[in-house]
Amino acid sequence: MRKSIKFICWIYLIIFLIMIGYLLKTYFYDSHSFVANPMNPRLSQSYEGVKRGSIYDANGDIIAEDVKQEDGSFKRVYKNAKYYSHVIGYTVNGKAGVEAKYNFRLENVSNEFFQRVGNLFLKKDIEGDSLVLTIDNNLQEIAGKQLGKQKGSIVALEPSTGKVLAMVSNPTFDSNEVSENWAELNSDEENAPLLNRATQGLYPPGSTFKIITAAAVLASGGEVVDFEMDCDGDERFGHSVIHCYDGKAHGHVDLKSAFAKSCNIYFSEIGIKMGAKNLKDMAESFGFNKNIGLALEYSVSTFPMSENAEEREIVETAFGQGRTLTSPLFMAMVTSAIANNGMMMQPYVVDHSLTPSGGVRNRTLPIKINQAISPEIAEKVKELMCEVVNSGTARNASFSVSRKDDVLSGKANSEISGKIQVAGKTGTAENPQGDDHAWFVAFAPAENPKIAVAVLLENAGKGSNAIPAAREIMKEYLENY
């Protein structure tokens, strides 16, 4: 009997120890995946008398900070607000953007004991942690200026990590004056200024989708890769007629020249030849219909075509019309994946937190989402995209970087100078709202990609209209790399 009691007693103790182990495992390992859940009321914490953390760009320039008022309270002040408003968001009327999603960190008082003691004896402010973004102030400003008054969006990513280097959306608003203009901002349905078009705007991808169709063809192997045909500018598929842009006849085309010239008829033909399943598999491999894991508000890009779709839908989907919808950020991610040997990276805008005493906390590590395509196929698609710039629809995308002084003095990276090989794809997206949307996605330098850009200009006509904005951003970035 004593032995049995000891046995059971040991079982109890061991089970309790396992329970402690489970508790610690949940706390130290599993909790990262759920404490940021929006149902956690602790995320919206705010303490009176605590100076909310500031927000800096990648170079350490202040974008948002709490400024002490005469009565001792704090007021949030934003610099360069019109370029940053969608990323940063606001703290009034229900928060948005980084201010909302990273509220917990901004209000989190690190080393609270010492800060409280400092406050008591030295009257120092008690501060929350600051955030350092991945966004480059310079690039953000250029992107904003490139958009000007044009509705649309520009996103620039670092392909190897998923860092968002620039993200602008137009029409915009001023984070400083959200409270005052709240009614107006919400009622303006035509411009929807509060909508972050970069992440929440969904548009037909137009011919930029041919990147995915081409990848699907290359991945499917077989004869369809070597398919060649003569393009007359229009062709009948079943009951509908497909046109190339402006009804232009491209003559004899293969995959390379059809991609460079953006021949819709060629892509319709290979779309049918390879079948809906190959196309759908490839689209989903790139992450259509899936969450992308961005910390900001975003819409999921959708690819609703089913495996047994009708011919008409396959044809339209293959060259980027149909029912497919994508956000500018998502097209930038697809482009980055081609640049990054086929690996999709999770995009992120906050690089790390800074404690008031300057300690680095919570550094974001790049996360791989999925190997969308093999490195070999990524290399082939990259060649196709180079051809678009060298001989196809995006010839004005190429540029040169000249900065002899910096190279000679050893300040700059000598690899990136002279003429830069750009890889890109234009797109002209027909849409029910009016004139075509202009798309351009690109990355550079093609041999060692440092930046990928997606430009979308609403109702701006053909895709080549979007090229200059992308070119200026890539040029600016590489000149200062």
């Binding site: 009997m1 004593r2 032995k3 049995s4 009691i5 000891k6 059971i8 007693c9 109890y12 103790l13 089970i15 309790f16 120890l17 329970m19 402690i20 489970y22 508790l23 610690l24 949940t26 706390y27 599993d30 909790s31 759920f34 404490v35 859940n37 149902m39 956690n40 009321p41 602790r42 914490q45 609270e112 004991f113 409280r116 003691v117 008591l120």
Partner: protein, 476 residues
């Protein structure tokens, strides 16, 4: 200034509980002669920790909301702890003082947490604790004048069934289970009281003859109790506690591993069948498997609990600063999550260790006793505390599916509190009867031997069941 004190208090609380638990395990090691420490000194250090905990927590509460009620509450709480532990060790010098310290500490953690969550419930809880401590002090005296308790197994089981059936007829539901009876304004949970009778019944049934024939009847009756709890009252947690207690008592009285592992296998199969049959069980299991699928509804409770436990740093957010009121029934089932949130996860781990100390003390009482009946009662009651605290802490941290039972001495609930104290008082009574084996007062061992000799001269009937059996046989 208040905030600064709350931050300092976070570290103080962890210091107190660390010293307390460390002393507790040291005492255990010392009794095993692995190390040598001054046991009375360690015990009084523990008492100091409890009092300091109470004072620190009181100051935090009072500085954040200065009310007369609160000051009275804190003073009465302090008086209850000091007076309770003083009287307990004065009246019962040969009881387990470590066990008293453990329950006074966790009781105080519960009192402080409850007042902060809901001051009205806190005040009621203080009254219940007062009654409980009173029971703790008088029960061993009452039990020692009672006649031989192993002779009334029919009485125990009849009372148990009477309580169970009256709950089925007159009971009302609160919090999902139909396990309440009301006496005027006071609600009462008979299943808590049944625990004691159930253990006494099984102990008297198993302490005699453990041939298979004699095991069948108690097994069937226990089965009916468990089925009535699950089917009639929808009280899954209590049913599990009763089943495990039965199984453990069956095993230790027969020493048959087959029964134990067979019983564990049986409950696994039965749970699986119950999972297939009953949708409300399925809902609970699904909420446990992945609460994140439906955080707004099915997974809400468990998700809110995990948020509370995991959002802050290891030292917690600080007493009174948490968001625990976002968890449904935080004062009862989920109080452990609130403790982890405000006192920190380190504190939460140490709290589990205190429950382990209680289990060790109870088991020691059972091992040291020579009388089979008393050993069985002691370990049965210990098992109830062990299984119950495991079920609720495990449920709150998503280790096992949630079954709504109270955390002994901490959760709000009058019946639960008073009965928990009675359980401990019975364990203490058994330890007192057995004081020669207790080594808390090692320096008094010669005195204890003297007492023991006196006892040998005047033998207690309870310690000699064999002789009694012989007499009965003769009579037959």
């Amino acid at each position: 200034m208040t905030d600064l004190f709350i931050i300092i208090s976070k570290y103080l609380f962890i210091l107190y509980i660390t010293v307390f638990v460390f002393a507790g395990f040291m005492i255990n090691l010392s009794r095993q002669d692995i190390i040598k420490i001054n046991i009375p000194m360690a015990l009084s250090n523990q008492r100091i920790c409890i009092i300091l905990f109470h004072i620190t927590a009181s100051i935090v509460l009072i500085t954040s909301s200065f009310e007369t009620d609160l000051i009275i509450y804190c003073v009465l709480g302090l008086a209850l702890i000091i007076l309770g532990s003083f009287l307990a060790i004065k009246i019962y010098p040969n009881s387990s003082h470590l066990l008293y310290n453990c329950i006074f500490f966790i009781m105080d953690i519960g009192l402080m947490m409850l007042y902060r969550l809901n001051s009205e419930l806190g005040q009621k809880q203080l009254i219940w604790n007062g009654i409980g401590v009173f029971m703790l002090l008088i029960c061993p005296k009452i039990f020692s004048i009672l006649p031989r308790l192993d002779l009334f197994k029919k009485v125990y089981i009849i009372i148990a069934f009477a309580l169970l059936i009256s709950t089925l007829i007159f009971g009302f539901a609160s919090g999902g289970s139909k396990n309440w009876i009301s006496f005027g304004p006071i609600g009462f949970q008979p299943s808590e009281l049944i625990k004691i009778f159930f253990v006494f019944y099984l102990a008297s049934a198993f302490s005699k003859n453990t041939s298979i024939k004699n095991l069948i009847k108690p097994t069937i009756l226990s089965g009916i109790v468990v089925i009535l709890l699950v089917g009639g009252q929808n009280d899954l947690g209590s049913a599990l506690i009763f089943y495990m207690t039965f199984l453990v008592m069956l095993f230790i009285s027969t020493n048959n591993y087959l029964y134990f592992f067979g019983g564990v296998a049986f409950i696994s199969v039965a749970s699986n069948i119950a999972y297939q049959l009953f949708s409300h069980i399925r809902v609970r299991v699904e909420a446990w498997q992945n609460p994140w699928l439906d955080v707004a509804n099915k997974g809400y409770q468990i998700a809110q609990s995990l948020f509370a436990i995991c959002t802050w740093q290891v030292t917690g957010i600080g007493f009174t600063r948490g968001y625990a009121n976002s968890i449904p029934v935080v004062e009862r089932d989920f109080i452990y999550a609130a403790i982890c949130e405000e006192f920190g996860i380190i504190f939460g781990v140490f709290l589990i260790l205190i429950f382990m100390l209680i289990i060790l003390e109870g088991s020691r009482g059972a091992i040291e006793n020579k009388n089979k009946f008393l050993s069985l009662v002691c370990f049965g009651l210990t098992s109830i505390i062990a299984v119950q605290s495991f079920l609720i802490i495990g449920g709150v941290i998503k280790f096992i599916p949630l079954t709504g039972v109270t955390l002994p001495f901490i959760s709000y609930g009058g019946t639960s509190i008073v009965i928990s104290y009675i359980l401990i008082s019975i364990i203490q009574w058994i330890k007192i009867r057995n004081e020669i084996y207790s080594s808390d007062k090692r320096e008094n061992i010669s005195k204890a031997r003297k007492i023991n000799r006196k006892k040998e001269r005047k033998p207690d009937l309870m310690d000699r069941p064999e002789s009694f059996n012989r007499k009965r046989r003769v009579r037959r």
